[in-house]
């Protein structure tokens, strides 16, 4: 079988086109150098299908395969899905720790210890007032001071309990806002379902939807800050996505419900942290504070001999006496101070102070743990993100070098084409003009 004279032109054209496509991809990479979630792409070049010449092409009479240049075999997306899993796991841990740290930092600011204005020093001032009353059992002013110190102390308990209650409510509201029908998870679910469909269509049409895959991975990255994201591949590039134990998207159907079942567990992330805060940590603080208030009220009332503090929780603690003047300093005459002495010596004997100090330590160590976890998770996210960028990130220097390479390749293909053109020119214009 004869070989066409124009074969070389076609081969050069393929070279031109392939270099041009590669240059296009480099331009696409450069354009997206700062796009979040973008994966660098590459035009994979492969030798074009060779031309099989029938027998007789070679001297020994056998046939041969003649190279026909280059083709773009695929537009590759350079990504390691294992690194995606790492980034998502660390993002989840980071958001878990950050959410806990923010809420606990708020609680410990409300606790305001060690200081001269926290409950600890108000407790000291309360006992000081009783001590003053013990020294001046006849004094109306000292009674007034005891009453005021008791009210201030009770208010401080109430304020702190309210602050912790507000932190709980805020965490609950945040959880509802995130998981609700107008929240980011619902939006992510909708866009994953849409992307599943678009990717399905593209793959059906034999295309590689690189940028759609990037978008979907980006949505999954964002989703992983809320909880434990698990992805199950389905047919034709579609995926099923779970957040904790709740399905988010299955195929092209949004599974995320308008109201979550009570069994929902996010398994970490911002939602997991909010769940832990609202169900365990913050109620635990409130219970610890209630215990301090209860111990204080019980001990003071026992020493006082009747009701001095009404209420047995931090929120309900208040003086149970009608007026400052009715505070009893002693059981005997005007100068007797046995009651005042008994109450003031609670500063050494009551467990309330110790319980409060332990409560402060608990809040502090929880906040400290969350802050440390945040630092560790931040470093882990950075390093996982580094490894992913190491594979998938756009390096401008590399793209510049590639551009040079493809430009030179294009020039060389063009030169090959013009040299074939010259050759054909010789054949077409000059053949048959021997001797002219």
């Amino acid at each position: 079988m004869p070989i066409s004279s124009f074969l070389g032109l076609q081969t050069s054209l393929r070279g031109l086109l392939a270099q041009q496509r590669s240059l296009d991809v480099a331009a696409h990479n450069i354009a997206n150098a700062n796009t979040v979630g973008y994966t660098r792409q590459e035009a994979s070049l492969g030798a074009a299908d060779p031309l099989h010449t029938g027998s007789g092409a070679l001297q020994n009479g056998s046939g041969a395969y003649l190279g026909q240049g280059v083709d773009v075999t695929a537009y590759r997306r350079i990504r390691d899905s294992f690194l995606d899993l790492q980034v998502r796991a660390q993002t989840m841990a980071l958001n878990d720790a950050t959410t806990a740290a923010e809420s606990l930092d708020r609680v410990q600011s409300a606790v305001n210890e060690p200081s001269d204005t926290g409950i600890n020093s108000l407790l000291t001032k309360f006992y000081d007032a009783w001590n003053d009353l013990a020294a001046h059992p006849e004094s109306a002013g000292s009674r007034e001071a005891v009453n005021k110190a008791a009210a201030t102390l009770a208010d401080a308990f109430k304020t702190l309990a309210t602050d912790i209650g507000n932190a709980t409510t805020d965490a609950q509201n945040e959880f509802t806002a995130l998981t609700g029908s107008t929240g980011p998870i619902q939006a992510a679910a909708t866009s994953i379902a849409k992307l599943n469909k678009a990717i399905d269509n593209a793959i059906d049409a034999g295309q590689s939807p690189n940028d759609l895959l990037d978008q979907r991975d980006q949505v999954l990255d964002e989703l992983s800050q809320y909880g434990n994201v698990s992805v199950t591949p389905q047919a034709n590039g579609r995926i099923q996505v779970m957040l904790g134990n709740q399905s988010v998207v299955d195929d092209t159907i949004v599974d995320w419900p308008a109201s979550l079942p009570s069994t929902f567990a996010a398994g970490g992330g911002q939602l997991g942290a909010l769940q832990t805060l609202t169900t365990t940590t913050l109620p635990g603080y409130l219970a610890a504070l209630d215990q301090v208030a209860n111990t204080l009220a019980t001990d003071v009332n026992a020493a006082y001999g009747s009701t001095f503090f009404g209420g047995t929780t931090a929120l309900t603690l208040g003086t149970g006496i009608p007026a400052a003047s009715s505070i009893a300093a002693g059981t005997g005459a005007a100068g007797s101070n046995d009651i005042a002495l008994a109450v003031q010596s609670l500063r050494d004997s009551s467990a309330a102070g110790q319980q409060y100090a332990a409560f402060v330590r608990q809040v502090g160590s929880d906040a400290d743990n969350a802050l440390n976890a945040q630092t560790v998770a931040q470093a882990a996210v950075d390093s996982a993100e580094d490894r992913r960028q190491n594979i998938s990130g756009v390096s401008l220097d590399e793209e510049m070098a590639n551009m040079l390479r493809f430009q030179r390749g294009y020039q060389a293909s063009a030169r090959a084409m013009s040299s074939i053109d010259d050759m054909l020119d010789t054949l077409i214009s000059r053949a048959g003009r021997v001797g002219l």
Binding site: P114, N131, A135, G332, A333, R361, D386, Q389, D397
Partner: protein, 275 residues
Amino acid sequence: MRITSGMSQRHVLSDLRRVQERLAAAQDQVSSGKRVEKPSDDPLAAERATRLRADLGSTAAYRTSVDDSTSWLDATDSALDSLTQIVQRVRELTVQANNAATSTAGRQSIQAEIDQLTEQAKSTLNGAYDGRYLFSGTATNQPPYTAATGDAYQGDTSAVVRQIGPGVSVQVNVTADDVLGTVTWLQSGDLSQIDAGLDNIVAKRSQIGATTNRVTAAGQRLDDLGDITTKLLSNTEDADLPQALIDLSSQQTALQSALRGGATLIQQSLMDFLQ
């Protein structure tokens, strides 16, 4: 490793953030002078500081009690001092009256003076400190003797108690009843009764003196305890200033080098060298 442009920028940013966090922490320590500002800075130290502050408050309160007790005891002692002088004068007059050489007129004037001195003794014990009657037991709003009730003691026999330490109580008062009793012995002319009464007053005075010593010693102990607790509290929550200042300046240097390094790193690219 492939270093992409996004990576180096992120590295520079996260390094800067870390250095700035440490710098802010060092600045906080230097400006507040506190190592533990929030419980999370050091949870154990925060707990200890909370307890130490309560201890410090307790020490200060007992110290106030000590001062108050001391004033009460001093006032009592000075009243008893006056009383001793009065009774001694009564004794001298009684001796004089018992002398056979003393005339009837002389005895009458002595009797008048002793009556005066008896009233003076009662009014000495009616003395008040800080608006309170010192010798009425816990009936501190009630003078021990009134004109209307004559020699009858009007107070009660209860002890006035001050707490000068955890579980340490002292009685700071003596009652007029303990000191003067029925009062009539002053006018009895019976030297042995007067001597017995004088001995009793001196005994009560030395009892007050012993209590004063005990209270003063307790005060000194409380001062020492306060000093130690303050030092402990300072060790627990105060910043080590030289250390904090060195930290601060080394973090400042670190920030400057991070900024300078970042600036050079971000500028460079192959584009600067390709034509």
